[in-house]
């Protein structure tokens, strides 16, 4: 895991966001298994357990609260027995687990400097600790921008909430174009603001070593679509 190129891990994170937003239960579970086994193999087992434990705790608490809230707001415990509600909670938990796991993989196995270096390739001014904080915050901005773009394009008739799974995947992928444009604009603004505030006055930094993309990265990236689409196809064939 540590040897994987940061870009590969970013790809995993992006893939899991896509999978979480559009895929049916089978792919969800398949992808979850994939990420989980990757990280179980690639990290110290204790660390993996720790991540899993904290993720599971948060999710369990969330699920319990959702159930409790459902009961309290309807004043009838029978709602738990209603299949659709409980099923929603379970699917939601699986999605969350997957997202948390892939983010955890990115942030816990990549040295902050690697992430900083990636950002500086995108011409983000350095002052890394600061940038790193910004970058992590940036993730949540990206997520909400993505939601906003998704909603606006759906209401403009882009078929991302209906139609076949394949079409949905394709259309959802196309949303990354405006997301990237919007975020580059935002990064631009941010860097101008930082510059005005006096960041980046020190001279450009060079790095001691740079990660290379190797065979393992390619294998992992190639596996992603297989894992996502494979079980779906298999299931359709069985039917």
């Amino acid at each position: 895991m540590y040897r994987l190129h940061p870009v590969t891990k970013v790809v995993i994170v992006i893939a899991s966001i896509i999978v979480a937003s559009i895929c049916p239960l089978v792919c969800l579970i398949a992808f979850l298994t994939f990420v989980a086994s990757l990280s179980a193999v690639g990290m110290e087992f204790a660390k993996f357990l720790r991540i899993m434990r904290s993720a599971l705790t948060i999710i369990l608490v969330l699920a319990l609260f959702t159930l409790l809230y459902g009961v309290l707001s309807t004043h009838s415990p029978r709602i738990i027995l209603e299949a659709s509600f409980t099923q929603g909670v379970i699917i939601g938990s699986i999605k969350l687990l997957k997202l948390m796991l892939s983010f955890a993989v990115l942030f816990s196995t990549t040295r902050p400097q690697s992430i900083v270096r990636m950002l500086s390739k995108l011409r983000v001014p350095y002052k890394y600790t600061y940038i790193l904080v910004l970058a992590i915050r940036y993730m949540s901005i990206l997520m909400s921008d993505f939601q906003e773009i998704y909603d606006v394009q759906a209401i403009r008739g882009l078929r991302i909430d209906s139609g076949s799974t394949l079409m949905r995947i394709r259309n959802t992928l196309s949303l990354f174009i405006p997301l990237i444009v919007a975020s580059t604009d935002r990064l631009n603004d941010m860097s101008i603001v930082l510059e005005v505030k006096g960041f980046g006055l020190s001279k450009h930094r060079s790095y001691a070593f740079v990660e290379k993309v190797n065979l393992m990265d390619i294998v992992v990236i190639a596996l992603i679509p297989l894992v996502v689409i494979g079980p779906h196809l298999a299931l359709n064939l069985v039917k």
């Binding site: 209401i155 403009r156 405006p178």
Partner: protein, 292 residues
């Protein structure tokens, strides 16, 4: 679903609608109706929930309790890509909507998605872009536009397919007064059509004087604090102030002058002679006011 749906009756109905975000902000028990063909302004200070209300109207957000009916259909039961056929949505940030390589494609996008023929949408794009003064931009990339241009393009993109409901989020943000007046002309030409329902959100109180016929829904901190017509609102300037909105300058001045001259204090209109007498009496104050 036929596109002429919703050209009569109630276009948008909020029925005891509540909604809350995870961070604690909540809309509570909103009930109001916007009839088809009406122009409605959703007014309120920053963070009062205007965008949230528009998203609930469009079906982007679903209420946590209560129901929203769009053209008589409960938004809980519609897919967003279906809503596209009869709703045009202009987001607060126009850049969020841009998706295509040229302005032309951007404006034609919804019409294409819902299956209008090539002749039909090409004619519509030309018509709409002439109304909005953006015909010279059609071959540009939407990401190279200035903010004002981008705003007009995103309005054009929302009306090309001739939807029966148009929702605009903060359309006058960042415009100065003259541009606002200009904007009003544009809206009158391109957006307000017979039978079409238009909802605009804004914290810009000048819109009240620019669209004097509109229905007003005043929000404060997620609650409905006024629901009615402008003529009933302007006579109650205190309602605006208590909702952290300043009354339009013209109204404020006339209220001030009325008080200064004691008009309305006796419960009747003063005669012309009385007015002249009082004006002369207070001419020092009025002179100062005009000079400043």
């Amino acid at each position: 679903m036929p596109r002429d749906l919703c050209r009569a009756g109630d276009a948008i109905v909020f029925n005891d609608v509540s909604f809350s975000y995870s961070n604690g902000f909540a809309l509570s028990d909103l009930s109001f109706t916007i009839r088809s063909g009406e122009l409605a302004l959703i007014m309120g200070p920053n963070g009062s929930g205007k965008t949230t209300v528009l998203k609930l109207m469009a079906g982007i957000l679903k209420p946590s309790s209560g129901d929203v009916y769009l053209c008589g259909i409960n938004t809980k039961r519609v897919k967003l890509s279906e809503v596209a056929k009869y709703v045009g949505y202009v987001p607060q940030n126009p850049w969020m909507a841009f998706f295509n390589n040229t302005v032309f494609n951007e404006i034609a996008y919804v019409a294409r998605n819902i299956g209008l023929s090539k002749e039909e949408y090409e004619a519509r794009v030309l018509e709409v872009s002439t109304w909005l003064n953006i015909a010279h931009l059609l071959q540009r990339s939407p990401h190279s536009l200035s903010e004002g241009e981008a705003r007009r393009v995103s309005i054009a993109a929302a009306v090309t397919h001739d939807p029966s409901i148009v929702l605009l989020d903060e359309p006058t943000a960042g415009l100065d007064y003259l541009n606002k007046v200009d904007y009003v002309n544009i809206v009158q030409k391109a957006v307000l059509r017979r039978g079409r329902t238009v909802v605009m959100s804004s914290h810009d109180i000048d819109l009240l004087t620019l669209f004097p016929e509109a229905k007003v829904i005043l929000l404060n901190n997620g609650r409905l604090s006024f629901n009615g017509y402008i003529r009933d609102l302007l006579s109650r300037a205190h309602l605006l102030l208590s909702n952290k909105l300043l009354p339009p300058a013209a109204i404020a001045l006339s209220t001030y002058l009325n008080e200064l001259l004691g008009i309305g204090a006796e419960g009747r209109e003063p005669s012309v002679e009385e007015l002249i007498e009082r004006t002369v009496l207070r001419k020092d104050v009025i002179g100062e006011l005009i000079c400043s």
